[in-house]
């Protein structure tokens, strides 16, 4: 196979994918994402984006396509290599390339040339299947998020609906509500539409507090970042509708049923439009409202919608950071105890190097002879050597004593620091692969849930009626990504260890010996994804302690799975017995080293979910519990 031609074919496959990505991305830009809201009907995504965002969005989107392409293509290459190695094991005769095989440009019919194109076509067709639409939309949503394309409107709308506008202090101007009180309330009171008063009041307050921020001149003041023609146009439409409502309420309402109904319907629809348009403005301006004065209606609204923002993402980030540190420490501890027990630094082990050091310094033979004894003033050894008892620690005297002690101490210090470095590096690398697996699984679960929420296809559920099927189907992609993550992490370590130069044989050996260990991580990714989804969805309905407890339970399950991974994924030759004097055996050691990260992550994740979140009306407020001391936003007290 000709390398140059193959590279060309790979490139062609990538270009095909880019074309498909471009087509797909463009079609997503012309879609109308918020069609449930009358005012946002006919508003395409493209009209809410700047050209820069569109381009960056496409860049990220196509990058994700290319990443999938690279991952799948290299997986097939690895598979081919491993199967070739397996075949070579059973074949008789030389298994290197045939003469001319590498340079033959005419063998284009060879199946290898078609592989990249086949994979590229497979990706295109798979992503266009309805069943895998969620994967594609997750990718697109990720690209939008990375590029800053407005998304998450439904979350903001949901948050806005939850704001108790009627609790706002009386000082906040509310012209429409006041007009209603003055000109229409009496008409409703006493009529059989009296029960509508509350709804109308809430709707009018919503318009009173939100509309000034998105209509008229104040709009530029509050939302100055992005000014798009479409948004001005929508503001004008809303302004017209508010004026229409105002015109009705300006004068005393007739005691006609049709008039009452008109007020009711108009108030509701204007309120909904205001919320929808406010949400778009808010997102379009990097989830920020500028020039907000303290204790105004708009500042309260800002606080309310900021509170629940990205709780799970923040918890993910903090959980990952802290769990890496905790896992490296745990792995270091386990390794260290093992090494100290199995290969302790004893006086005997050090003697040879001390003598060698003195010989290099060309010391006198009599001095070297004296130094063969272990001087009493040497730092602590891991264990006394069986050959040297306490009596062997000789109190040296004379001029040689200091030089001897310095040689012993110097060597001991070097040996100890070398050992620490080595163990630390090993601990870090062990955690690194698992970190990638866990991070890939958790983040894909978080994003997947986010996208499903945005699509309105992730309804709330109760703990007594767990939607197993939904959770399981959502955990499949994270499970696969966990395998990918641990394979990438381990391969990077392997690559670094071999001085960034690995051969085909080495790659084949690597995957042949580790495939079972990697495959077992699918289970881990599955557990992590289920845990993340479970905790994120349910932490609002549970007490803090229950969330922490559930996090701990999931962490224990993950640890248990790791124990299985070690038993099933490790070859028998790797297993070792428990050294004497150590409280844990080899399997436990490996479980601690590799499982610690996931264990700590799930615990920290559950803790941060609770302490970084403060949603009005949640169980803390309703149960009258004290709000948490850490991470609580200052302004939230007012709500």
């Amino acid at each position: 196979m000709n390398g140059l031609i193959y590279a060309g074919v790979v490139l062609a496959g990538a270009v095909t994918l880019l074309i498909e990505a471009y087509r797909n991305y463009n079609s997503s830009l012309t879609s109308i994402p918020f069609k449930e809201h009358p005012i946002l009907q006919n508003v395409e995504v493209a009209k809410l984006c700047t050209p820069r965002e569109k381009n960056i969005g496409f860049m990220f989107y196509s990058l994700l396509y290319l990443v999938s392409y690279v991952v799948i293509l290299s997986s097939t290459e690895v598979y081919e290599l491993v199967s070739q190695a397996a075949q070579a094991n059973s074949e008789v005769g030389p298994t290197d390339a045939l003469i001319g095989e590498g340079n033959d440009p005419f063998g284009l019919a060879g199946t290898q040339y078609g592989k990249p194109i086949f994979i590229s076509a497979a990706i295109i067709s798979i992503f266009s299947l309805g069943a895998l639409r969620p994967v594609e939309s997750t990718m697109r949503s990720l690209a939008h998020r990375l590029a800053g394309v407005p998304r998450g409107v439904y979350n903001v709308i949901e948050d806005l609906h939850a704001i108790p506008f009627h609790e706002f202090p009386v000082e906040c101007p509310k012209p429409l509500t006041d007009m209603f009180d003055k000109n229409a309330r009496k008409v409703f009171e006493g009529s059989y539409d009296e029960s509508q008063i509350k709804t109308i009041e809430t709707s009018l307050r919503t318009v009173d507090y939100l509309a000034p921020a998105i209509t008229g001149k104040l709009r530029i003041q509050y939302f100055p970042f992005t000014q798009l023609d479409k948004m001005s146009e929508l503001s004008t439409i809303l302004e017209g509708k508010v004026e229409e409502l105002k015109d009705i309420l300006k004068k005393p309402l007739e005691e006609e049923e049709t008039d009452r109904q008109k007020v009711f319907h108009l108030a509701n629809s204007v309120a909904n439009d205001t919320i929808a348009l406010f949400a778009v403005h808010f997102l379009r301006n990097n989830r920020a409202i500028k020039h907000v004065r303290e204790d105004t209606a708009i500042s309260r609204i800002y606080d309310s919608i900021q509170r629940s923002y990205q709780v799970e993402l923040n918890s993910f980030a903090m959980g990952m950071l802290l769990s890496i540190c905790a896992a490296v420490i745990a792995a270091f501890g386990a390794y260290y105890l093992w090494v100290v027990t199995v290969a302790p630094i004893t006086p005997e082990a050090l003697q040879a190097s001390v003598v060698q050091r003195l010989e290099t310094q060309e010391q006198r033979p009599e001095m070297i002879a004296v130094c063969r004894m272990t001087p009493a003033n040497v730092g602590r050894f891991d264990a006394p050597s069986p050959g040297i008892t306490d009596a062997g620690l000789t109190p040296l005297e004379g001029p040689e004593a200091k030089a001897c002690e310095a040689a012993w101490n110097g060597n001991l210090k070097t040996r100890l620091s070398e050992r620490r470095q080595l163990i630390l590096a090993e601990s870090f690398w062990a955690v690194f692969g698992v970190f990638l697996a866990c991070a890939f699984a958790a983040i894909s679960a978080v994003f997947g849930r986010d996208v499903r929420k945005e699509d309105n296809s992730w309804p709330e559920w109760k703990i007594r009626r767990i939607p197993f099927l939904r959770l399981f189907s959502m955990a499949i992609v994270p499970a696969l990504l966990a395998v990918l993550g641990v394979a990438i992490g381990s391969f990077i370590k392997f690559w670094v260890d071999s001085s960034f130069n690995v051969t085909e044989n080495q790659i084949a050996f690597f995957f042949q010996s580790k495939w079972a260990f990697f495959a077992m991580h699918a289970g881990l990714g599955f557990i992590v994804a289920i845990a993340v989804l479970f905790l994120t969805d349910q932490h609002d309905n549970m007490h803090d302690a229950t969330t922490f407890f559930l996090g701990f339970v999931f962490a224990l399950i993950a640890l248990g799975w790791y124990y299985l991974t070690i038993i099933a994924g490790y070859p028998a030759e790797f297993m070792r017995g428990r050294p004497e004097g150590l409280p844990f055996g080899f399997e436990t050691r490996e479980t601690i080293i590799f499982g610690a990260h996931t264990f700590f992550f799930l615990i920290f994740f559950s803790i941060f979910l609770e302490i970084t979140e403060d949603r009005p009306g949640d169980k803390r407020s309703s149960a009258g519990l004290k709000p948490p001391l850490i991470f609580r936003p200052k302004k939230a007290k007012a709500a």
């Binding site: 005769g93 030389p94 390339a97 071999s498 051969t503």
Partner: protein, 358 residues
Amino acid sequence: MMRLLAILLLVCSAGAVTAQGTTRVDPDREVSVELRIGVRGSARPFSYYTSVLSPNISTKSGPLRAKGYDGYMVYICDEVLKQMLIDDGRSPPLHANQIKTVNIDTTMAARRALAQKETTDTVVLDRFDLLGEEVDILCDPASITRDRVRQFAVSPPLFMTGVGYLSLRHSVPPSSDTLCRPDKALMGFVGTTNALTGGVQSILDAGEWKKYRDQIITALRNPTAARENCPPPDASNKPHGILWSANTHDEVAEKFCDGAIDFYVGDIEIIATHARENTGCQWSSGARSFTNDRYAIFADIDYGQQEKALLIGRFFEVLNREIATSDSLLDRAYIATFGAAPRSQKLDLFFWSMRGEP
């Protein structure tokens, strides 16, 4: 190659002339010439001693297999010798008692022991030294090299193999700064360092063992200095250091499977067969081999001993005839040795080029 074929042709035709042009040979006359065939005791799967009771040995077997030797190369020699035993009335006759089987490994071991008495250094002997002295035809996996072809008569290539290496499936390669280990060697092989150099060089050229490259090259260039830098821990020949060799593949394979050797280097079929014989040894040969070596039968023709020269010439004549067409001796030897194991693409092409379509 052309020159060699010309010589062979000459030898063959000389044999034919002798047989046809001179008086017919009397089959009952006393035989004085002995044809000494060199075989190996443990070069599986090409030339090795099994047992006279081995199921492979049957009444169809020729003189070599009847004595308990077997293997791909032995099978070929055996079949040729069997043909030679048939008196067609025109060829120089050969009787079974004229064929003497010489176990090269035993002979070499005896010679080595003798030489070792006179020196403290490790004695390195080449089995080709025996060719002409104690052996006339060498039936073992001997690669065709320029030097050997210059000194001896050679058959057409009979098998194609390559140098490769095995590593234990779950072993972790050592770090490059701890290669001098008292109980473990980086590389184990059989024979001399010189014979190994080419193969190892090809492996290094392919980018393998990058992190040990400098140390391996230093050790190959100057084995004595390498031994001094990393002396054996005791008098026993335990695997240690970078290069470690033993006299037989059995020994190296055993140490390899015990985990005392990281890489077992050699001709891929030989090392794989030996590793396979250690039950429970899980190894992998990687995705590819690194060189292309062809095995042939070598002989020493002394034209001073005309009768023996004629027999050797006749041996090559029969051999050429048996391998050059379909139903080739090569195929039969392959099936007898490797059974249904698939041939690599390259070996398949080699067979095809030797005998055409099967």
